[in-house]
Structures are given as C-alpha cells and as structure tokens.
Amino acid sequence: MNWNMWFPLLLIATSLLPGLIIFSLAEERVRLRTLLNLSGALVKLALVGWMLWGVYQGHHYETRLPLLPGLDLVLRAGPLSLLFVTLSAVLWLVTTVYAIGYLEGSPNRSRFFGFFSLCVTATIGVALAGNLLTFLLFYELLTLATYPLVVHRGTEEARRAGHTYLVYTIFGGALLLLGTVWLYTLTGTLDFATQGGFLDDLDKAHHPALIIIFALLIAGFGVKAALVPLHGWLPQAMVAPAPVSALLHAVAVVKAGAFGIVRVVYDVFGVEFAAGLGVLGPLAWVAAFTIIYASLRALFQDDLKRRLAFSTVSQVSYITLGVAIAGPIATIGGVIHLVHQGLMKITLFFCAGNLAETLGIHKVSEMDGVGRRMPWTMAAFTIGAFGMIGAPPVAGFISKWYLGLGALEAGQEWVVIVLAGSSLLNAAYFLPILHRAWFRKPPEAWPHEHDFGRKETAWALLLPPVVTALLALGAGLLATAPFSPLEWGKLIAEREFYRP
C-alpha cells in the first residue's frame, strides 16, 4: 500500500475535522475549542514538514478520487503547491493564536472558528489541487467559507461588505467556470501538467479561443487576486475582524487568486505557450497598472486597515507581474513573493488589530506617539513596513531583487521602473505612519484604551506579530539558507524552465 497517497487527504482533514467538530461545540467550551484548533494546526504543520522533506527528496504525493466520468478529484503535492501549503499552515497556526486572544469574550466564537478552519481547508485544497476542476471546487468552497467571516460582526457595514464580496467573487467564479468548461471541451482534460502546460498539441485554429479562455480564467482569478478593476471588494472587506483581514490578505483569498493565475500560466497554458499566444504582455501591463494605481490610492487613506488593503492590492500584483514577465528569475521573484508578502502583510494586519483592540486606534491620524506606548507592536509593524518598501534585509527586498533581475533578463526594463515607482509610493504611505508612531508626541488620552497592566497588550495578541515579523526578517536575512522561500522558489523555477 502506498502511504504517500494519503498525505494530501490528511492535510485537508487536519483542518476540516476540527472545523466540523467546532461547529457543534457550545460557546462556553473554550478549552476544547482551543485544543482542537491548535492541535489541528500543529499536526498540519508536522505533516507539511514531512512532505516538504519528501518532495525535496523526489517523492510524489498524489490522491486521486473519481468524481465525474473522466474527471477525478486530484490532490497533488509538488514544489509549487507545497510553497503555498507551508505558508497557509504556518500562518494558520499563528492566526489561530491571534484569533483566540482577539476574540476572547466575544460572541459566536464556535461559528467563527468553524468557518476559520473551513477557510484554511479550502485554501489547502486550492494549493494541492491537481487539476482545474479540483481547484475550482475548493476555490468556490473558499468563497462560501469566507463570507461568514467577513460578516462576522453582523453590523450593517459588515453585511454590505459581505454582499459586495459575494457579488464580486460569484461573478469571478462564473467566469472561471465558463473558462474551465470551454477549455475542457477543447482539450478533454483539466489535469495540471507537471512541467509546462497541456495545450501545446492543440491545433492553431483554437488559438483565438484559447486567448478568450485565458482572459476568462485570469478575470475569474483576478477578482480574488484583486487585479484592478476587479479589486473593489477588498478595501470594503476590511470591516471584518483583524484575524479575518489577516487571513484574507495574507493567507487565503487573495493568495488563492494569485495562485490560480500562477497555475493557469504555468500548468495550464505553460509559460512558453502563453508567451507565444501573446497573452503575457497584457497581463504584465494590468499587473503593473494595479501596482501603481493601488499604491496611489493607499497614499490617501486615513483608515489604517484601508491603507493596508490597498497596499495588498498593489503587492499581490507583484506575483502576477513575476509570472507574466516569463523568465526563470522573475518566476522566482513572483512565487517567493507569495510567501514574503504573506508574512509581511499578516504582521501589519496583526499590528493594526492590536492598535484597535488595545488603544482604539483605527486611523493613521490617531497614531501619534503610539510607538512609545506599544513598542513591540510598532517594532513588528516597522519591520513589515520596511519589507513592503523593499528595504534590505527584510523579505520584500529579496522579492523585488528577483523581480527586477528577472525583468532585466527578459529585456523588460520598464518593469524595473514600475518597481522603483512602487517602492517610492510604498515609502510615501508607510514612512509617515512610522514617523507618527515613533517621533510624534503621544496624546494625553488614547481613543479607547484597554488596561493590560504592565504589558503593552495581551500575550496572544503580541506574540503573533512579533513572530511573523521575525519570520519576514529571517526570510530576507537567511534567503540562501536551505528550505528558505528563495531556495524553494529556485526549485520551482528549475522544474518549470529547465526540463530534463
């Protein structure tokens, strides 16, 4: 019996089962709920570690279950999928700890953590999907699992944001379904290729149709990846609680969209075939426009989470840009930014949550002198912000380095200018926050201060941003260490571009 085929299923089960049990738990079963959440996250992490080692050694992990005639539900762990799985597993654990502290004493926690686990299950499914159908199933499950989290507060604003989120994502899902079905009618298969795409053998007469299918798939994934003009839901969704925002922006939803684009370009069309069709150029332009446009919008937001949301819109497009540049080095830049952006952005959202929960600060204009009151939180925020700007040695520097180098390698020098412009804008909207926090005098009273004794805030709230900030710093400082995101990205690019 091949035990390796069970590993992908086990990965899914480690969050699905706790999630389903948590739904049935009464509100007051706090300890059991916490135990289920944390043990699920830890087991998942251990499994991921095992599989990472296995894939590095060349093992194959694949689960194939018959779903429809000629179509299977396929879960496969390769280098690319494990990169996303590792990110989700690590950040799920950290976010769970944070959410436990954040939601202490608030109502509907069983519902929250149940959907939270489902959300991670869907994300792992998206990451492991071995064909477009499996991807689509988990992708839609992700939409359904995230909606209750967005509207969790139950306010009018939250319901409006949830409605907008549903409209956008269901529209995106419809486009995706249309593109997938059309593709299936042309090819008769939806299995992701392990190297390059599966469309090489298709007759040239189908090329116009393939261009439309590419547009449909990218638009479908572009909704969740928040490509302009399909980004409208993301800034509105920031009304959700901070752990949900962290999950949306760093782990699950936008990443699933970006990951979908990576899958379409690499494993459905194949980079060379897509470049031959002429679809990567426009994709690069859309990504570049998104990067600059969203950075400009972020510049004028006083609401901290809204500013961070526009920053996400901008930063996630780096992944798309890296993919669209079509070269091994840019590929490394794009896929490692999947991890780097996740680490940096989750840090920033945790910090924003800490400021809101501890001092009632929601706006940038209220942050004067907050660094003196909450030094650890703001130190973590500072690392995250510098990473977003691309300052060394934080992880963002490594991403920008490879994206810029990849652009030069591909002869697309304009991308370097876009990156420079983006860094400049990032500095313009992050540095004023840091200036306020560290160098302005604090007010006599904070908007809504909670007392945590001698600590700046609760441990469960403080530890996660500090850990993720250190991870972001470590991913940059130790970029060339074994199993770092960069080394893993090189492995992905090697398998994609240098075929045996």
């Binding site: 003196r372 300052a391 040695p393 380095w401 810029g404 370097v416 560290w438 060339t480 260490a481």
Partner: protein, 429 residues
C-alpha cells in the same frame, strides 16, 4: 585559529550594537553607547587583514578589514566615540532617551557594517540601516525645523537608495560575484557600464549632499543638535564618499565624456560654494557650504580618476586616508559651529516651507541669480518698466509680467551656467 578569531571579531562588531539596541538590554547597562564601540576598537587593533565570508547571509555576503578600510573604521570610531560622550549627558534629561539610544546604536551598526562589508549587497543593506537610523537622530529634537530637515533628508535618502538598488540590479545582471574586488573589472567593461556609472554617481551624490543636490545638507546643518551635527559630517557624508569609491569602477577603464562631466560638476561645486561663502551666506551656513566645496573637490578627484585610470592606480592608496580626514574635518566643523550657535543662543533658523516642486528642482541657482540681479538692477528695472508701460494694470498682463520675470531669472541662471562651463573648459584646456 586566527581565522576563527577574526571571524568572531568581525561578527561581534556588527551583532553587539544590534543587540544593545534592544531597550531592555541597554537600559540595564552603564554607558551602552561606549560599550557598543569596544568590539570595533578591538578589531582595529588586530593585526593582518581579517575577513569573514557568510554564504548563507542575504545572497552570500562577506565582511573584511584591510589596510585601506582601517582608516575609515578608525575615523568612524573616533566620531562615534565623541558622539557617545557628548550624548551621555544630554540623554539623561531626555524622556525618550531609550529610543534615541536605540537609534544611535542602529545607526552605529549600519555605519560599521557598511565600512566592513566586502560586497555591494552587504554595503547597501547596512547603509540603508545607517541612513534611516540617522534620520531618526536628526529629528530627535522634534521641533519644526528638525522635522523639515529630516523630511528633506529622507526624500533624498529614498531616491538615492532606489537608484543604488537599480545599480545593484545592473551589477547582479552583469556579474554573479558582487564583491567589490571582482566587480570593478567586470563593470568597467560591461555594456551597461555608463548607466551603472551614472546611477551610482547620482545615488551617492544625493547621499553626500554634493552640489546641486545639497538642499538636505543645508537644512540638516541648520537644525541638527550638537551630536547629530558631529555625526552629520562623519557618518552620512563620509560614508557616501566611501561608498562612491567602493562602487565605482575606478582604475579600470577611461570613461571619457562621462568622467569629464563628473569632473566638471565637482569643479563647479567648488567654485559655486566658494562664491557663496565669500559673497552672501550667513555665518551659520559656513560648514554646510564648506562641506559642499569639499565633496565637490572629492567628486572632481573621482572625475580625474575615471578619466585617467593610471593616475588612480598610482594614488588610490591615498583615497581612504583622505576620506577619513574629510570625515573628521567635517565632523569637527559641523560640531563646532553647532556649539557656537547654541552658546550664543541663536535659535535654529526656521526653514521656509518648501513646495514639492522646489524640492525636486532645487534652488541652487537662486543665490547666483540674486548676486547677478544686484549688479544688473538698473538693466532689469528698465526692462521691467518698459514691460509695465505696455501692460498697464490689466490682470492678465500682470500674470504675463510675472512669467516674463521668471523667464528672465532663468535666462540669467542658464547664461551663468554656460559661462561657468565655458570658463571651466577654458581652464581645463
């Protein structure tokens, strides 16, 4: 054995100030700013050329100290030791002294790391830390003047860092080895050598406050506290000159017209700043203009080195002692003027609120224009009167008059610029 000792010594020089920067640690130790310097002082005493390669750090980086960089390290230590001693008293009275100490130690770490880095990425990383740390030290007084000075410095720093990042990309695209020793030869002969040269030159010129990018320096020198003034000369400016020497492909190939332009910029900076010092600037601004003159002279030297690689190869060993001397001289200069200013209770001069446009376009011809205007007052007034007769009181025409005056001003500036260039070309010829 020696290698291991050297490796440990080099690591401690960088890690120790970083550790001490944590408030929980430095608040428990006496004299943390002085303590942070000790490992670097010990390293300076070690014989030989210690070096350390760390392939797992960043993209694989290294640190080292040789007979040339020893000069710069010695200068840095002297400046930091003095600054630590000066700040010891004043910080006790400061409510935010932990934050200031942290910034002090981070800037120190950045400075030492940049001196010891043996490759471009290491230098860039530590120089970035140093730059942002120094920004914090510059604005620690929290007055409006310091904040504006900090804002100017920050804008120049960000633009300079972006340019240097582009230069890094060009270098990495051309060569796999980014160590200074290997890179010079490769970049001098690369197809992108001209772009690399210009990007690096502009990047470091912005950081050093070289004319015509000296605006941040003027603002900083007016508002810096005594310790910041001391560091201003010895840290950002000296390190920018050091960086330019390390990054530019000197002594490999002649760069022709580009080198001549750099030489010209340096020479004009010297002439311009001398004119300003002797003709109109206030006493308070002397150190800043002296700095512009010195950096101009240094840039002119680099221009000569880029024009004549043989000359550079012959005299390159003097450049590091020169940088060290320049650093010490400017640190002392800025510090003394700052002390005099404070002793005589002359408050820091508030800066005029600058528009974004003027920030970018600079106002370096403004002073020359005023000087010319004083001598051409008659001509200008006749010209204006004749214009005014024509346009009478019509509002639209008044706008026209404003634009004509503006153009006249620029005409004078451009003419002077050309004249200076011609004079320089004649002198060079």
């Amino acid at each position: 054995m020696n290698e291991a000792i050297n490796g440990v010594a080099l690591s401690v020089v960088i890690i120790w100030p970083l550790l001490l920067a944590i408030p929980a640690l430095h608040s428990r130790l006496p004299w943390p700013r002085h303590l942070a310097i000790i490992p670097a002082a010990v390293l300076l005493m070690l014989p030989g050329d210690p070096s350390l390669e760390l392939p797992w750090l960043l993209f694989g980086t290294g640190f080292g100290l040789d007979s040339e960089t020893r000069w710069v390290l010695a200068m840095s230590l002297a400046v930091w030791f003095t600054a630590a001693t000066i700040t010891a008293k004043s910080l006790r009275l400061n409510s935010a002294h932990h934050q200031t100490t942290t910034l002090f130690l981070l800037t120190l770490c950045g400075n030492l790391g940049a001196v010891l880095a043996s490759d471009l990425v290491g230098f860039f990383t530590f120089a970035t830390l140093m730059g942002y740390g120094f920004y914090g030290l510059l604005i620690q007084d929290s007055n409006e003047s310091a904040r504006r000075a900090g804002r100017h410095y920050l804008i120049f720093l960000i633009v300079a860092d972006l340019l240097l990042f582009e230069a890094l990309l060009l270098a990495a695209y051309t060569s796999e080895d980014l160590h200074f020793e290997a890179l010079d030869g490769i970049m001098a002969n690369a197809s992108s050598s001209q772009s690399y040269l210009w990007i690096v030159f502009i990047g470091f010129a912005l950081k050093a406050g070289v004319w015509p990018a000296h605006r941040w320096l003027m603002a900083a020198s007016r508002s810096a506290s005594s310790s910041s003034a001391l560091l201003l000369g010895g840290v950002p400016i000296a390190m920018a000159l050091f960086g330019a020497v390390r990054w530019l492909p000197l002594g490999e190939d002649a760069f022709g017209i580009s080198a001549m332009i750099i030489l010209g910029v340096g020479a004009m900076a010297v002439i311009y700043s001398m004119l300003i010092i002797f003709m109109r600037t206030s006493f308070n601004m002397w150190p800043a203009w002296a700095s512009v003159a010195i950096t101009g002279l240094f840039i002119a030297t680099l221009g000569v080195a880029l024009s004549y690689p043989d000359v550079w190869r012959q005299y390159e060993y003097f450049v590091y002692p020169l940088i060290a001397s320049v650093g010490i001289f400017m640190a002392v200069l800025f510090f003394n003027f700052s002390r005099i200013q404070r002793t005589h209770h002359s408050p820091a001069v508030a800066l005029p609120r600058a528009s974004i446009l003027s920030l970018w376009t600079e106002q370096w011809f403004d002073l020359i224009q005023r000087w010319v205007n004083r001598r051409l007052t008659g001509l200008q007034s006749i010209w204006r009167v004749s214009q005014l007769k024509m346009i009478k009181q019509n509002q639209r025409m008044l706008n026209w008059q404003k634009s004509v005056t503006f153009c006249f001003g620029w005409g004078v500036r451009i003419t002077l610029f050309v004249l200076l260039g011609l004079a320089l070309a004649w002198l060079a010829g």
